[in-house]
Amino acid sequence: MIIFLLAFPVISILFVLFGGRIAKCIAFGSSVAELIVSFVMFSHYQYNSNVQFLFDQPWIPQLGIRFTVGMDGISMLMVLLTNILIPLIILSSFKKEYSRPGLFYGLILLMQTALLGVFTALDAFAYYIFWEMALVPIYFIILMWGGDNRVKVTFKFFIYTMAGSLLMLIAIIFLFFQTTEHSFSHQAFANASSSLSPTVQGWLFWAFFIAFAIKMPVFPFHTWQPDTYTQAPPQGTMLLSGIMLKMGTYSLLRWILPIVPLGVAEWGNVAIILSLISVVYGSLIAIGQKDLKRMFAWSSIAHVGLISAGIFSLTLQGLQGSMIQMLSHGINIVGLFLVAQIIYDRTKTHTMSELGGIISKSPLFAGLFLIILLGSVALPLTDGFIGEFLLLSGIYQYNVWMAAVAGLTIILGAVYMLRAYQRTILGEMNGHTEEFAPLHWNETLVLVCIAGMVIFIGVYPQPILDLTGPAIKNIVDTINNQIYTLR
């Protein structure tokens, strides 16, 4: 079943490629089918920390490479996130006419397979392949359908992420030669590293962390991000920020904490400090932005910094919060970028000072935007609140002062988000917004779905905590035991 989950988008690519004008419908249908499959798997899921739906076959026997995929609670959540967001992203583009739609939607589906692979792979080599495979479609999506400055920007993006990946590849190969049975499996890596000294683990930690930090991105590896987000077509930005970014945070949980625990013990505080710098720095720059899309991009840096800090707090609350926040950030940011797309389609501008008074033209849009925005600034009873609250309490247990700094994110976030709302939606109408057309059916549908999830998760987050709880507890216990035995 998991193989079907991974292969189905690739198979439907064949139909999408030659779908011509109905390509988007085929792609949407396929992604909905995929969503249903993942819900069926979810319903068969048993709430414990074991890996389920395991599929394990030799792939390249000469090199000791196996194709191993499976899901625990963490993977399950990420798979659900991916499969919920992809149909919404495709649906949000229904009124846009991209040139060569077959290719465009084919690349999105290819991306979906790669992302699902990253979230389920338990063999480091297969994981690496999927990790890289996710980069190629998004690169082409931006290169072929992006803004005017796309060539330079995508190039920087590609070289940046590739450099990080190669560091990770070196670490993976190194670990492979440390395993007794010469294997890439997650378990073998964890076993092998327990005999490595803290210094070596420290090196491995950095090799992995830089690769993930570039993807998320965390200060100081973030310089590619605002430009790329701005130049990408709206759907590309949603993919990048909604799902692809989660590859980085997910990988922290999967490939850093269990594999190099002593490296984390050694360098975790530096990682937290870097993450907190992203939080404050990202927020401050977001306040200064004039361009709506750019502001959302910087806000994403701030939010993801908090997730990463929570993960390195190594507390149950911190990790639980990171899981919820990964889900809700994915949902919120896709909503926010859709808002940016809707505004741009109607007014041809992202500059906030040129907007205003949209509320009198489209109160429905203003209302839905408000809900998503409040989720993003972490108002109680929205999804952002649950995540950020848990994250902050995790960081608090780690260090009070760091929690105080991290708490700034809520205040600063409220500043830039509400100001953006006030400037674009409220205020006086002007030439750009006078003709603001009401929402299309597809836009309404996506926004309503997202707003619904924002509130649902905010009110009733327990299913998510139940889903990821056992796996998270396992990770936290293992790593704290290892660190404890060392000291």
């Binding site: 390249i60 000469q62 090199l63 392949i129 890289e132 190629v136 290169l143 190039f155 190669l166």
Partner: protein, 462 residues
Amino acid sequence: MNAILLLSALSILTLFAGAFNMKKLALPLIFIGLIGAFVLNLGEWNVSDNYFYNKMLLFDHYAVAFSGLLTILTLFIFFLCHQYYKTENASIADIYGLLIFVLIGGIIMASYSNLTMLFIGIEILSISLYILAGSRRLSLRSNEASIKYFLMGSFATGFLLFGIALVYGETHSFHLDVIRQYVELQRGNLSLKFTTGIIMMLIGLSFKVSVFPFHFWAPDVYEGSPTLVTIFMATVVKTAGFAALYRLFVICFDNTPLPDAWLNIVWGMAALTMTVGNFSALYQKGAKRMLAFSSVSNAGYLMIGVLAMNHYFSANAIFYYTAVYSLATIAAFGVLMLVEKERGSNEFSAFRGLSTHNPFLAGVLVISMLSLAGIPPLAGFFSKYYIFYAAIQRGYIWIVVIAIINSLIGIYYYFRLMISAFAKEPDMEKIPEEFSYKAALLLICLLIIALGVYPAVMSGLI
């Protein structure tokens, strides 16, 4: 062995077809002949002690695998011939015949078990290539390429012969297994004469595969030769060259470690070839010259495989690497050849607008460039990984680190060519693509993807 006989007959037939004005017959004849040769070659798989002519040739797994690869590559290149030579009045039958001679030379280079056969193989291959490089008789660049290649090539052959002579002086034989016995008897105390001999042979063969510091001819010759011949040089000749180089040392030093001087030289060559090739490629304006330097830097990666030699251990890696590299290079040159022909230039700017007017060619270019740059899940990534794996297993860590940094640099220029195809240029016209041309390129792309998704089919042959 039967493949060599069939191919010799085929090339002579092709020459006659030209002489009797039956040029139309030549191509179908060649396709049938090449497929026949491939099948005959496969028939010799798993025949033990498959020696021919007083142990002159040995068709072991290694030889059969490489012969098959060379034949397939030639077949693909011949698919591109028709459209390339369609508008030309040149004596194509002669060119076709010579191309098959190159293939024969390559097969001998992959299957020799006697140094004279190595020499004969190289000469058959080289002399045909000297003519082919100059086959555009009225073009100055083509003539220059021919002369340059000839002078450099004969120089290299001199080194090779000198090395063979020194080795013969010490071991009293041209037979590889006799040389091996000699090496085993010496138990590591190899005489200066013998060591000099093998290093000179290494230098002679390095010329053929364009390894630093013997690569200087490559860019000029690649650029000046007719593009179809350039494809041959960059793929078939390079594959054959590495097959010969590896075979020589893996047989002679089967049970004894290679001398340190030799290892250090190969280490340095590998590192410098990659680096110099890559950095030179960064600064090229023309796609053809860029691909020439890319072929130099790829020779550097292959030298890592040679360095990691131990009982045929890295032979699989080299086999897989040459196959994947050659496929991607044929695809890239295939696109370049049409662009050059229709737009009269091979600079990056000539590729502009390809994605709008010729989406198929742009797609082929993307796949080949991604594979050459080593982006997973395409085969190029696995081929590099395979080489690195072999090297790390033999304890060569630093060369792998250098190689990984180099592959990052490689991404830069491969992507530059690829991106230029996506620049918008409404003025350009659509380039006509023939069916056979498209079919061959499509097949190559599918192979690159398939070998990447499931490399195990090819990675354990030898």
